[in-house]
Symmetry: C2
Subunit: 341 residues, 2 copies
């Protein structure tokens, strides 16, 4: 236990036109809370940094309520039940949930997702491969991308936590996989760690046209599945290389600023001519399938067919810096904050 | 019969940046052809003008081979078999097919789609409601749009041949229907002829934002299905009003010039936040389902549940003007050229 203090990182202001920076957040200290009957006290051990956080703190309309100003920053977390009498979550259980950027959280159970088995995989893996990240990769690829043997898959942010899993799952389905990433080190992760058949570093290309020409060489039969986490000019390059019947899975828009409303090439004609589809996928709609995904992904992990890389920052107070690392793209692997043992 | 002359309208040049104009075409006279063994001689009676023609004569990549310079303009046609010994198409049969802008056509049967029953509906209806137009409306709406009772449907070019059918079929499925069209007269067709619940004339609005605000009023629960034949700023207005889970059926891009590559607002974020899909639909992929569609649409027509309006221009030599009428949007109803009785 860490005494009677609860540290928490709250939203101090919303990002301006230049995007998120650490001054959007503020560290506060309050009294360590005490659970009431029916409540849990959870010790937060690990925090997950995710691209969706940019949307959670933005003002504009999004797929979930914005984090209120002064409120604890929303986050997927891994913790341990320290006290309480909730029938579903006994003291001592490890749980994944949405307890936010703080040392201690009170919960009525509604923001706890599941009990985690610490023997199945490293605890922290439940915040990525065996958590929302894996669910996003698995369902987005399998349900929306509909991979089949011989398909060519392209992934943007291919060496990220989601992208690395998508590439490996697609290989299990027999796809040819091509990753797009932001640095030579990440490109090396794509081919050496995640088994991509080819990897392109987008910074090597002057514009979408140049990247598209490189993609054309890497994907001579066109792109059957585009698992897209960036949008923007990287997507412009991929959209120009779609094969007939292509499926574009829109999972993130990291390369598109929140404001002003972004413009770019219109895709309608490519979508029509290639009889392609672009479909938005939000993992928040699919929590009910987490168990199914964890079972499949855990089995593949234990078979040695899925690998991952973590980028761990220690200390709750460094959570804003960890998020910046993710948003700047200077991370290598899944960005996690270790809060306590 | 019209003597020994075959008149035909050929492609004289491809459209430039200003788009199609009548000088893209040239009327020629050649000898009336004679069928060889296994061939048919078809008297062309009706020509259909379709938005896709703009793509057929453009240079850029498209979903079918471009019409060659000097070649007979490609067109859906309704004709009568005048001579020949083809086993599937006896002399005297009415046939729909792709005989092009000419008086007489020789065919080996491969460009004939089907025999038409002249008692089922007016002959010309086989060039729209009981032809590609109806197939486009029916499959695009039912297969891709997946209408269900209570859904709100928006159609761009709602008073056109496809749009009028889409609106009526959606009503049969229990949808609320809102049409977007280019003139007050067409808006009146939407509500009075095709049963739309509301119709908006896009020319009444200064920009996409203003049109979008009007759509928000007409679609208080958002847009569940957008049957899109325009793209461009009209689509920008609709895309801003999508409901969660919306299906956008991309059937045409009339409002998007072929060149230079068009730009506009990026839709990726709307697609993601609304878990929407945008899917290209090309009727050319679905010829094998024409019989099924004609049967269903014919039954609804004879039940009085489907109505249509034709805009008939007489004379093969006026086919380019008829096409201009369609592309300018000054038509009212399906644009047809009557070549002969």
């Amino acid at each position: 236990m860490s005494g009677e203090i609860n540290r928490r990182v709250v939203l101090a202001r919303r990002p301006g036109p230049d995007g998120v920076d650490p001054t959007c957040f503020r560290l506060e200290e309050t009294a360590k809370p005490t659970p009431q009957p029916g409540e849990l006290l959870i010790r937060v051990l690990w925090l997950s940094c995710d691209p969706a956080m940019r949307g959670w703190i933005a003002e504009g309309p999004n797929y979930s309520e914005p984090v209120p100003l002064g409120g604890v920053m929303r986050s997927f977390t891994l913790g341990r039940v320290e006290a309480g009498d909730h029938p579903d979550y006994p003291v001592g259980a490890y749980v994944s949930g949405r307890q936010g950027w703080q040392d201690w959280a009170i919960s009525d159970g509604s923001d706890v997702d599941r009990i985690v088995d610490p023997d199945q995989a490293p605890l922290s893996a439940n915040l990525h491969l065996l958590g929302m990240t894996g669910l996003t990769a698995y369902l987005g690829l399998v349900d929306v991308g509909r991979p089949k043997a011989g398909d060519t898959l392209v992934v943007s942010t291919a060496a990220g936590a989601v992208g690395g899993a998508v590439g490996q799952i697609a290989k299990i389905f027999g796809c040819r996989t091509v990753g797009i990433t932001g640095s030579a080190a990440k490109a090396a992760d794509c081919t050496e760690l995640y088994g991509y058949d080819a990897a392109l570093t987008y910074r090597d290309y002057a514009d979408a046209e140049a990247l598209s020409a490189a993609l054309a060489k890497a994907c001579p039969g066109g792109v059957d599945i585009y698992y897209d986490m960036t949008g923007g000019w990287i997507s412009d390059a991929v959209m120009a290389q779609l094969a007939v019947g292509a499926r574009v899975v829109v999972v993130g828009t990291m390369a598109i600023p929140s404001s002003p409303p972004p413009t770019g090439p219109r895709y309608s004609r490519q979508i029509l001519v290639k009889r392609a589809s672009m479909t938005g996928f939000l993992v928040l709609d699919h929590f009910d399938r987490l168990g199914e995904a964890v079972e499949q992904l855990g089995a593949w992990y234990r078979d040695g067919r899925l690998r991952f890389r973590e980028d761990v920052i220690e200390g709750l107070e460094k959570a804003p810096q960890a998020l910046m690392k993710l948003l700047d793209g200077t991370n290598r692997g899944k960005v996690l904050v270790k809060v306590a043992d």
